[in-house]
């Protein structure tokens, strides 16, 4: 995207008045989306996001600037203006660092692994697939009154360079389909959603059973429509696999990010090497898994992603660390520096974050539960890392009575404190599955996977309307 000389000149200008590291993040991102509402295509958009972010690191602080004018003059001006800010921040005489820019042969340039690029597919073909899901949902039950089916494709080309000799170029293609059904009766409306995604191209659509997705989303909407209101209070909660993993994402993952840990604003900040979860809990953050939604070849600072063991037999093994967070904490990056786009400075984030499978079967866990809530499908959630308070919504839930799944209930919310709930996990199942989400934080919204087998928490606060 930029030639070696220009990169060299920009980084050199950025460090002309001091500073320890200068970094360029440039992207050209093509986005396509198609929205079908109630079986008819209503919206279709195409757009290019384009720009460059320049970061200068000074001690453990940063100067960040971005522009979408990438002409030589504009970039040199951006670098010079940023260098002026460096000058103003310095308390002592600066040492001027030299800039290392790699030759072509030494660079990390990743091969494009997309099999079917979005531009090679007729949009009408995608429309036909969305229609199958919509028709299947309407056919499932006459109570299904609306459907909304969306296709999303994002292809982000990035160039990540820094003055220490990092040069990475990558194409990150992501494809996702969101199938939503609404079931109605009188004033009551309930929704069901299926939203699989991949790091990959349109070939992903060939692996999807659109008819089943339409039916499954309709089944949840109709089941919840007929469900009674969820009872409130403290009770054992069984959280099923796939998007159930959002519990670990909220209750623990965010609180392991360097963003909070480095300044002591996390309940786990001083817990490395200590037990923070029940001994049956093992968890990883793995950015290397092929084709997964949260996967990256390199993070948004050019560091190779890896499999980070976060919790082993209940003991905290690692935090999630970006470059700057690492400087603040005195530890190396874990390949966790991420950002939504050039508009954001990177921070420590999750990729594919999983609780690993245990040994109980789901049937055994349910049979072992006298009374409690079975949360089959979770919605989103959030957390405040300093206090550990988290919450999330349950989309599909049932009461468990005498070891059996009984009646469906709707409108439940689960809340708790991360450090307490991890200790209270008393069963980990063997039916691991992952699911896709978008995680929002300081550096914007990034694609992340959550995942787990079925787990049981001894006791949680269930918020319902009854």
């Amino acid at each position: 995207m930029l030639d070696k000389q220009l990169v060299y000149d920009v980084l050199t200008a950025a460090l002309a008045t001091g500073g320890d590291l200068a970094e360029i993040f440039m992207e050209n991102t093509a986005k396509n989306n198609i929205v079908m509402t109630n079986g008819q295509i209503e919206k279709a958009n195409w757009g290019i996001d384009y720009g460059l972010g320049l970061r200068i690191i000074l001690g453990t602080n940063a100067i960040y600037a971005y522009t979408n004018n990438t002409s030589r003059d504009s970039l040199l001006k951006l670098a010079k203006d940023s260098a002026q800010a460096v000058k103003a921040s310095l308390k002592e005489d600066p040492t001027i660092k030299s800039v290392i820019v790699l030759d072509r042969s030494e660079r990390a340039v990743f091969a494009d692994t997309v099999q079917i690029p979005v531009k090679d597919v007729a949009k009408s073909d995608i429309v036909d697939r969305l229609r199958i899901a919509s028709q299947a949902a309407y056919a499932y039950d006459p109570l299904v009154t609306q459907t909304s089916n969306t296709f999303l494709s994002v292809v982000q080309d990035v160039l990540i360079v820094n003055s220490n000799g990092v040069w990475a170029e990558d194409r990150r293609a992501r494809t996702r389909v969101v199938v939503t059904s609404v079931a109605s009766e009188g004033n009551e409306k309930q929704t069901g959603t299926e939203s699989p995604g991949t790091k990959g191209g349109i070939e992903f659509l060939n692996s999807l059973d659109m008819e089943k997705m339409g039916r499954d989303s309709a089944r949840v909407a109709v089941t919840m429509l007929k469900a009674d209101l969820c009872p409130s209070g403290r009770m054992p909660v069984i959280i099923d696999n796939a998007f159930g993993g959002v519990i670990f994402h909220e209750a623990c993952g965010h609180s392991l990010e360097a963003t909070g840990v480095a300044k002591g604003a996390s309940v786990f900040a001083d817990k490395l090497g200590k037990a923070i979860a029940s001994p049956i809990v093992n968890a990883v953050d793995d950015g290397t898994l092929t084709g997964e939604w949260g996967t990256l070849n390199v993070d948004d600072e050019g560091a190779t992603t890896r499999r980070n063991v976060l919790i082993e037999d209940g003991v905290l093994k690692s935090f999630l660390v970006d470059y700057l967070g690492g400087l603040r904490m005195g530890t190396p990056s874990t390949g966790s520096g991420r950002r939504e786009s050039y508009r954001f400075a990177p921070t420590s984030r999750m990729t594919n974050t999983y609780i690993l499978p245990g040994k109980d079967t789901p049937e055994e866990i349910i049979a072992d539960t006298e009374y409690g809530l079975y949360a089959k499908q979770m919605g989103g959630g959030s957390v405040s890392p300093a206090e550990g308070d988290f919450n999330f919504a349950v989309l599909e839930a049932y009461i468990v009575r005498d070891g059996k799944i009984a009646e469906p209930v709707r409108g439940a919310t689960l809340i708790g404190k991360g450090h307490e709930v991890l200790m209270d996990i008393d069963k980990v199942g063997n039916n691991f599955e992952a699911a896709q989400g978008n995680c929002g934080s300081l550096s914007g919204s990034v694609p992340t996977n959550v995942g787990q087998p079925m787990v049981r928490v001894k006791e949680m606060i269930v918020g319902g309307r009854k």
């Binding site: 295509i41 757009g47 979408n68 409306k189």
Partner: protein
């Protein structure tokens, strides 16, 4: 390429490619912010961005494309994609470009003096705000996200019918997050200021409020499940009304994604002392705007007046469907977003009752000062919500101890009918291109779950 050059080339090629009418929207913005931590500038941010959105009719359908790259090379791609996108549209109601209104409201949303405040002044205030917050109480452990910034934006809209609109706006803001700790338990509170004149900015007041609030949460505990009168403070009331604002959009009502409809106009949907307005130009809000995303002049109007639904909010397409006029509420999510509907400056008309007076008659209640999970714990269609919350207990008319780890659950349509009192403390916040303002409210019939 300048905007004028880009527009000329885009319009010429659109005409040549068979678009029967077309529109360009330009958005440019510049921003500055500085964040300090422990007496140092931890992030210094300077940003400049621009981009264009295109809409045009081809084969009787509307096609969209957008680009943040503004050079001649993308024009062909934009038009090709816009044409393909138009070709797959199946919806029968046709989206149309607007010829323009005779007049547009006067909006003064730009203060040139804001640009004259130097970066070093802003850095100084941020550093002073942090050290002042830390000096207020030994329990203050940290004042992070201490940020001061300002931003300005320019929006230009032009189409093949000769419409030519522009709007320039700017704004300043400051944020502080106070974190306090006692007996190993941490509590925090965020406070912020927005304005158009740094002369009105008082960093001491901001720091004092954040610290005072954070300290007041120390010792918070959950409370027993049961029936309580709920007092939403103006901030949490704003969050609740913002997340359910979609129910007033005609577009949602027409698709069955709201329980309201044009047929319900004239009926009582709220208690008689509720008046909810949406004003394009609003002195108390920083988000005044003269025209909407379709170029329609914004309006001053009541959505609910004395409990009665007066109108839904419309863009051109949803208005045509209900046989009414657009209310100037078209919106676009970014440059590439399709035309949707949103509020301009949406607010509940306040009363004369102070917050303390409002809760003085409450025997057993909870003041809600914060809610978490509003993005997931709500059903925007049915109005059901169940979210995590914290705040304070009300006992015999007085605010007493702090409360955490509870959930509150209810239904927004019921809330409108169960508001027993409205406070006087209206406060505006930014929302999208406009703003939202809420006073505190007292509500019955909300379920509290805790111990």
């Amino acid at each position: 390429m300048t905007f004028q050059e880009f527009k000329k080339e885009l319009f010429a090629q659109a005409e040549a490619n068979g678009f029967s009418d077309y529109e360009i929207l330009f958005l440019g913005s510049d921003g500055f912010s500085v964040r300090v931590l422990n007496g140092e500038i931890t992030e210094y941010k300077s940003t400049a961005s621009q981009g264009v959105g295109f809409r045009g009719t081809i084969g009787g359908k509307m096609g969209y494309a957008s680009s943040e790259k503004m050079d001649a090379s993308v024009i062909g791609q934009m038009l090709e994609n816009a044409a393909t996108n138009a070709s797959i549209i199946e919806e029968e109601e046709i989206e149309k470009l607007y010829h323009g209104d005779k007049s547009y409201p006067e909006v003064n949303a730009y203060n040139p003096a804001l640009n004259e405040v130097s970066a070093s002044d802003k850095i100084k205030w941020a550093l002073e705000m942090e050290s002042y917050a830390k000096s207020l109480d030994p329990r203050v452990k940290m004042a992070d996200f201490c940020t001061i910034g300002n931003a300005e934006s320019e929006m230009l809209m032009a189409n093949s019918y000769g419409l030519n609109l522009s709007q320039k706006r700017n704004m300043a803001s400051a944020t502080i997050f106070a974190r306090v700790a006692e007996n190993g338990i941490m509590k925090s509170s965020m406070e912020y200021w927005t304005g158009r004149d740094f002369g009105e900015f008082d960093y001491k007041a901001l720091a004092e409020k954040a610290v005072e609030d954070a300290l007041s949460y120390l010792g918070a505990e959950s409370i027993p499940t049961g029936a309580y009168t709920i007092a939403f403070d103006n901030d949490s009331a704003k969050d609740l009304f913002a997340v359910f604002s979609g129910i007033f959009m005609a577009e949602n009502a027409q698709k069955g994604f709201s329980l309201l409809s044009n047929d319900k106009v004239g009926t009582e949907i709220a208690v008689p002392h509720i008046t909810l307005r949406d004003d394009g130009v609003c002195k108390k809000s920083l988000g005044s705007i003269a025209f909407d995303a379709e170029g329609v002049a914004t309006q001053q109007k009541a959505i609910i007046e004395n409990g009665v639904l007066k109108t839904l909010l419309y863009n051109l397409k949803s208005a045509a469907k209900d046989g009414v006029k657009s209310t100037g509420n078209a919106s676009k999510a970014g440059l590439g977003g399709a035309i949707g509907t949103s509020c301009t400056n949406y607010y509940l008309v306040p009363s004369e009752t102070s917050f303390d007076e409002m809760i003085s008659g409450v025997e057993k209640g909870v003041i809600i000062t914060g809610m978490a999970g509003l993005h997931s714990g709500i059903n925007p269609v049915s109005g059901d919500f169940s979210v995590s919350a914290d705040g304070f207990l009300i006992e015999n008319g007085k605010k007493t101890k702090p409360v955490e780890q509870i959930t509150i659950a209810g239904n927004f349509y019921d809330v409108l009918k169960n508001i027993t009192a409205v406070g006087s403390d209206l406060r505006f916040h930014s929302m999208g291109q406009g703003g939202i303002g809420m006073p505190s409210i007292l509500v019955e019939g909300i379920r509290v779950s805790g111990l």
